[in-house]
Amino acid sequence: MSNEQILHTGASAILAHDTDHGEHAGHHHHETFITKYIFSQDHKMIAKQFLITGMIWAVIGGLMSVLFRIQLAYPDTSFPFLETLLGNKWAKGGHISADAYYALVTTHGTVMVFFVLTAGLSGTFSNFLIPLQVGARDMASPFMNMLSYWFFFISGVIMMSSLFVENGPFSGGWTAYPPLSALGSASPGSKTGMDLWLISMALFVVSQLLGGLNYIATILNMRTKGMSMTRLPLTIWAFFFTAVLGVLSFPVLLSGFILLIFDRNFGTSFYLSDIFVNGVGALPNEGGSAILYQHLFWFLGHPEVYIIILPGMGMVSEILSTNSRKPIFGYMAMVGSLFAIAVLAFLVWAHHMFVSGMNPFLGSFFVLLTLLIAVPSAIKVFNWLTTLWRGNIRFTPAMLYSIGFVSMFISGGLTGIWLGNSALDIHLHDTYFIIAHFHLVMGVAGIFGMYAGIYHWFPKMFGRYMNNTLAYIHFWVTLTGAYLIFWPMHYEGLAGMPRRYYDYTNWESFKMFAGLNLFITIVAIIVFAVQLLFLFNFFYSIFKGRKVTSQNPWGSTTLEWTTPIHPGHGNWIGEIPEVYRWPYDYGKDGKDFIAQTTPIGAEETVTH
């Protein structure tokens, strides 16, 4: 009798029906269009909802970056189509206005970090893979899971509506530092746009908490028989730590937001002090501290970057091992390094605040703790490379993206060692060096992890394959493009070019980068176009892709490939399979792979 049945039948019913529990497992309730596709409580459908919503946001967020890159590449040229697209208030005469530029940059950041790389990535794959890989029929609470998606959806609707209010969306940067975020008079975007931003983000936090609760409860409580913690695929370990990070850090962000809401609307002075605002005069507030917000924000904000990257790490570990036909190198080291990263995530937030006026003595502690993260990160990279080493590699699109992930993680991670030094940070903070660093290590690597996951689990999601040719074009253009976009930004940043500026032409020192900025923009447009190719491939393949004919197309060991090709709500027909071994028995004793459901044979050499 599983936890599952206790949840769905109630304890009293179980006593009476203990003998026939096998039959309950299948698809036994009638579903209408609404309960199947809209208010679905099936984790697989919720995962697809997260994925497609995330894709819509990725297109919006990506398009925004193309728009502000156009401004950076052609500060003096006018593009009439911009006026058509943004209206004559935001792009009069085909020129993006400064306010519109800041709004685009801010919304791009917010949308990409939270809606695409948090909800779209971990929302999709935690939902999809946790029950399938631990051997559960659904989440611990399918209803809360559904709520999690709908809170995210409403949060998205509100964020979207902020794009259309009179003064435009919030424009003070995705971190929403006060006083720009606390004062309606600070900028056009700080008025209604900021109110909507705050409401949207508060709902988003609720969505993340509901989801995270479920992920943790499912992983710890609903594993099938024999699935001990050390037999979990690394994907599940990664989702577990991701959820723990989210559940412990998002509430702190929420408390920061609550104080911000009070400062904005009820005249309190948590963050606002008696500063002088042009056109308004001195504020009546006394004694507030803007730094306080930065502490609360980055206490979430730093774990947030691991919330983004850990699911990618987990999926990449799984895909690299499967497609190298080799066991993952150093399973326990992989789990241990995930754990170390999760712990350190809470101890390094102030490295975002080295130049906020904090005590340099205090800063040195944060430098030490920050650089310590290099240790578990290096362990992971080493293990990925040694998993590939002398493997029988199959270069599937998912595999290419996984290798690309490792490449991006190394390139972006190395500059993290520079930025973690408080002395170097004095020069490098708020420059394009930062932009290059976090886009490579978190943005592009995170997206690569997501693509790897989509290509790898698409057959399980939709029972069809994606087109490989399009996938290879997508991969090579995206990989090359990502490096061409972000690599040159290191040079701009080292030269001191600040981030978030609207127009660099007035600075003699940055005139030399005009050509480089143009180049970056052109590559960005090409890369954006190739993502549309991916979307075409994705949606076309859902309906017209090559059909999956075998239950286990990749020759994988994990449980999700023991379900039917089109699993119903409940995942397995009949009993949930029992697990006898770890998930990485590839190339063992002369066998290509041994599924987790195969009992340990008498003559096996090593057993996990």
């Binding site: 409860a217 509430p251 005249g267």
Partner: protein, 193 residues
């Protein structure tokens, strides 16, 4: 087989109970965020010192008493004494509402004694007290709503549900909210004083 399975089941926590523990950790982090912000802010200049309204001692007593009645309600439920159970959860819910009323009276007392919680001229020390206890009150109200739902369920004659899980979940949450207030009460007394 039956015996071994239920044996295995007993070792694992019910998923709903487990989710509650994770949720409590999450709520705890929020209050930890608030109170550490309070500590950071207190070291700045211009921090108004004031003593807590005396009515907070009464509200503390009320919420402690409500934890006791909640505990007794759980025992009556286990003993299948449904009449007693209904009375006790009603008392618990009423005590919860009374707690919220007493807290609001505490706010009023502070306003009357020149400590503005919000609006212009308010000091962060007063605002912090208002926001933190306000958020805590919302959690108490959430608990009261849960109790009302359970009260209505206890009258539902169509399905007799003797599962202990809902009452245990509600009761754990109630004690947790109680404990948070005790923490806040001690925190405000020591740190602000």
């Amino acid at each position: 087989m039956m015996a071994t399975v239920s044996e295995q089941q007993r070792k694992r926590l019910h998923p709903h109970k487990f989710s509650l523990w994770v949720a409590m950790a999450s709520i705890l982090m929020m209050f930890a965020g608030f109170t550490s912000a309070y500590i950071v802010k207190r070291n700045d200049s211009n921090w108004l010192q004031f003593s807590l309204p005396p009515v907070f001692s009464f509200s503390t007593a009320v919420i402690l008493a409500s934890s006791l009645t909640m505990y007794l309600a759980g025992r009556s439920f286990k003993a299948r004494n449904m009449v007693r159970y209904r009375i006790l959860i009603t008392v618990t819910a009423v005590l919860g509402v009374l707690f919220v009323v007493l807290q609001t009276m505490g706010f009023k007392y502070l306003q009357e004694h020149g400590v503005k919680l919000i609006g212009s001229g308010s000091n962060p020390s007063g605002s912090f007290l208002g926001v933190i206890t306000g958020v805590h009150m919302l959690h108490v109200i959430g608990g009261v709503i849960v109790l009302i739902v359970m009260f209505i369920r206890a009258f539902n004659r169509r399905s007799k549900n003797y599962s202990l899980v809902p009452i245990e979940v509600a009761s754990t949450y109630w004690h947790f909210v109680d404990a948070i207030w005790i923490y806040l009460f001690i925190f405000f007394n020591i740190v602000s004083g």
